[in-house]
Symmetry: C2
Subunit: 474 residues, 2 copies
Amino acid sequence: MNGMGLVEHLRAIVGDGFVLEGENISSYLEDWRGRYHGSALCAVRPADKEEVAAVVAAVHAAGLTIVPQGGNTGLCGAATPDSQGQSVVLLLDRLNAILEINVLDSCIRVQAGCVLQTVQEKAEEAGFYFPLSLGAEGTCQIGGNIATNAGGTAVLKYGSMRSLVLGLSVVLPDGGVCDWSLPLRKNSAGYDLKQLFIGSEGTLGIITEATLRIFPKPLQVVTVMAAVETVDDALALFVRLTQVLGERIRAFEIMNRTQMDLVLERVPGNRLPFAEACPYYVLVEVTETLPRIDLSAIMLEILEEQIEAGRILDAVVPYSLAQAEDLWRLRHSVSEANKLSGISVAHDTAVPVSQQGEFIRQAEEGIRTLFPELQIPMVGHIGDGNIHVVVIVPYDSVKDEDERTDRIARIHAVVDDVVIRIGGTISAEHGIGQSNKLRLQKSLGETTIGLMRSIKRAIDPDLTMNPGKVIDMR
Amino acid sequence: MNGMGLVEHLRAIVGDGFVLEGENISSYLEDWRGRYHGSALCAVRPADKEEVAAVVAAVHAAGLTIVPQGGNTGLCGAATPDSQGQSVVLLLDRLNAILEINVLDSCIRVQAGCVLQTVQEKAEEAGFYFPLSLGAEGTCQIGGNIATNAGGTAVLKYGSMRSLVLGLSVVLPDGGVCDWSLPLRKNSAGYDLKQLFIGSEGTLGIITEATLRIFPKPLQVVTVMAAVETVDDALALFVRLTQVLGERIRAFEIMNRTQMDLVLERVPGNRLPFAEACPYYVLVEVTETLPRIDLSAIMLEILEEQIEAGRILDAVVPYSLAQAEDLWRLRHSVSEANKLSGISVAHDTAVPVSQQGEFIRQAEEGIRTLFPELQIPMVGHIGDGNIHVVVIVPYDSVKDEDERTDRIARIHAVVDDVVIRIGGTISAEHGIGQSNKLRLQKSLGETTIGLMRSIKRAIDPDLTMNPGKVIDMR
């Protein structure tokens, strides 16, 4: 079947108005940051999982390829087609129903195109809490969150997206359908195939539905910020808090002084909550489902004890929700501040929690040796070992595209060498997409990459799904 | 290479004393319950992961097969070789070192042959808590726990074994080595391959090392038992406790009256903690890391409220550790009581938590229709949806092996039909092995089984690993 025959076939499946071509698809052919551009035969908006299966079967039969796209908020170009024009972009936005919220099963069953924030809100309305939270939550879709095994700020307590998935429905590359959507808490019945699709970035199949864990809503949330001298002091505070508060710690974030300075300079409405600047700032959030425990008092006690022991320099315990929001605003202003400062060459490293001090020291040293003039803000989920070391390349400092590409590659290489030496991952929560394929290959080594290729070939022998993403199949 | 040449080769790898043959291997050729018997060329006891890799490479090159065996405590015959005599039994018992306990990373790194109880004890000595707990913990090995995605009594709070694994080292079927052992809390770098090996029962490779999560040690543990009229009343209590106590609930177990009666009749040292027998008994355990919260008082309040509301019949709140242990003894006496009563035809079903009342009703009805004379004790982890419906076939009621096999198959078929109808898994925590292959196939359907076969072929194309287990490859 040629391309035009396929478009007719797709119209027959989803209806005329839901196959887009020409100018109508331009927004689906590039990522939101405008870093990747591609081409496609058409974009299709199926209404439900049956239509998804029929679309996939048709494209597979026609020998073309499929690029699934959720909210198009990814950072690695995984949802942008390549330049060949032989792909069909599969949009999941019409699969946006909340199918069920079940109190006894503590789960919410949703279609893949639901916006993350909608899932959070629906869980909240039912008296529950859905913990995945990240910058793009107003736009990104649950299917994409699952396909990238998204992280965010509550991973410390609740785990990444993988930990929140109880069940999935998927469409295989030939249009076959697997329904593993039951909310089972225990299952040892053969290989747990859904785990492969979580984090596969659309290269193995299409996630059409998900059954997600929801949790008792915390009745108390206490947020504090502490200033510390070193990363190791921050980690010592983390250990102490964990000893006392157990699994109540929902977030434990860090920013270095460079990052805080950029936020204060660039983003209006922020102010430093301390009398003077300090090397590192830690933002801690603890939660509790029992109302009668005085969580603030316990936090105060620990912080006072740590100040007396000289392990933290200062601390702020907000007395109002507004003050707590001010602290979080500092954290949430990071992306904007960095974007306003120049090209952000960001890293999404995770190393073992214990190795973060060493990682940051070596990464900063390596970058400074190469580019002594550049600013290195650092922000991260230090409770998870996920540190974003960022290098700001001022917009006016690079002359052309080639120089930019070269400089970015050299910065990545320095940081990746440290990751490989210390032991860690180059992608903690953003994924691989098209940006990070070579870096992935270098960091994982041939045996693991070879195994990934075997899995890809086993599930998608005709290479129908999201070509050119995650691993090269040549 | 013929078998004898291979044995010489294996001796050269592991040393003469660690290749066992003839009478010395008889205990490795059958499971601990004596239900499965096999034959093997020899059994090998490598000292470390390098020797495991060399042994696997040698067996693979010789065209023979490998049956990995941990503590040999499995319930489904996964560690027993087939009758062909072409297998090498690979024993992991010499890989029994605790490699590292790291406070900052909250992890323990162990070799695969470590006994579960040793891991629990070492974590405890370091001031932590390792939550996997099950009947065989004094004998079973961590590698086997991972290979079967073991469950047990603390899954409600901490998840199955899969949730406890941060990293793995594995040897592939050709002797290749993958080291994914870093304690990373976040990772979105390609397919999460270790997930395939968890729960694969030795059919994809050999787990040689594991990095496991450990948790703050609870400072308080409160155990209570409540008597209820129906399964739905038990679930209502579960919902209420979850609302108030959040994630503090570590165990929420149920037994029916038949099961309790068998325990009281058959196992000395047990007594009913209530004035009279009731339809169902629920055992609840809640934990807390803060010492200053009066957890017992909170539990008492909830139980009183539930008694007043007529939702529970009675409750026992122990005032001493000894009394709490008495309650757990009732639960832990179940296997012994059933074994003393006859052949236990046990089911390892999980259904959604909300569907358990319906599942139990339909399963009991189906069994009673078929065999009205048989006792049906029921025990389970009702907080996880994992119900063990057991049918006791008195020893003197079956004449021969064939009749026994037939009766067991008919009982399984009745229960499996209910599982398929309601939606659930035939194996929540015991695995598939050789016992449950046909039941697995029937319950999962062709598309999913086909995908499992593709994965098996992709990773183990020569079918070297644990032949005849989990899925048939014909």
